[in-house]
Symmetry: C2
């Protein structure tokens, strides 16, 4: 088997699928004026209320070079607050504004809209999620 052929690659379809899925999200997220990475940040904040930049990075596997400008955009949209920790000035804590908190209601329809856009069954999605998460855990260190 020729391992330098595209069809024998495992990484390419994941790279391509990631972009295809983000494209499916695009029109849905346009409604709430968020990009996909911005949506992910909002999602972890809806779940945890307040997180440092580092903690957000650990959850999303992104570094400050990516997060700092992204968080500044969310701040400019009045979705989040960024404030230096009083007890440790190195840390920037990120929290939701009322605006950002209220967006959760509007966002509640996003997962279902996304599922419809994909046209996959619940079983297919669940299987995919579990399969990918297994691989992700094994490879991410």
């Amino acid at each position: 088997m020729d391992y330098l052929k595209l069809e024998n690659q495992a990484c390419f379809p994941i790279y391509a699928l990631s972009r295809v899925l983000t494209a499916h999200y695009k029109p849905i997220l346009d409604e709430v004026e968020l990009t996909y990475p911005q949506y992910l940040v909002m999602m972890v904040l809806w779940e945890h209320n307040q997180l440092s930049v580092k903690e957000i990075g650990e959850k999303l596997l992104l570094d400050s070079g990516t997060l700092t400008p992204l968080l500044k955009k969310l701040e400019a949209k009045k979705m989040i607050l960024r404030e230096r920790s009083k007890t440790d000035e190195r840390i920037v804590n990120v929290s939701l504004t009322n605006n950002g908190l209220q967006l959760k209601d509007k966002a509640s329809s996003i997962p279902e809209a996304f599922k419809c856009s994909l046209g996959l069954t619940t079983d297919e999605i669940t299987l995919l999620r579990k399969n990918i998460n297994t691989i992700l855990d094994k490879t991410k260190k």
Copy 2:
């Protein structure tokens, strides 16, 4: 189930895995001075010798906005040639230089090196590839 929780998302682990896998490729591709998207372009050219920008885009799911600057970089590295088609001036044909062709030998060890870096079994990779390709085919239109 709260579908706005990160752990219940199917898209996030794919997005994250794509970046994790690219990070695994990085030190390996540094040896041949290619980025991962550049490596993909070289791979389709090793397989097809000559392709138009549009054909490369169809294979990799990338548009000219992404490909044009990337191809110019490969051209600057003397890996490829870009020339307007004589029969249809709208088309730019991309082909390998001798340099680019010879790189295939050096690149032949990349798939194995990547597999070692991941630490997954052949079976795990094959299963993943088939599973992802099925989903990709269903979602890419």
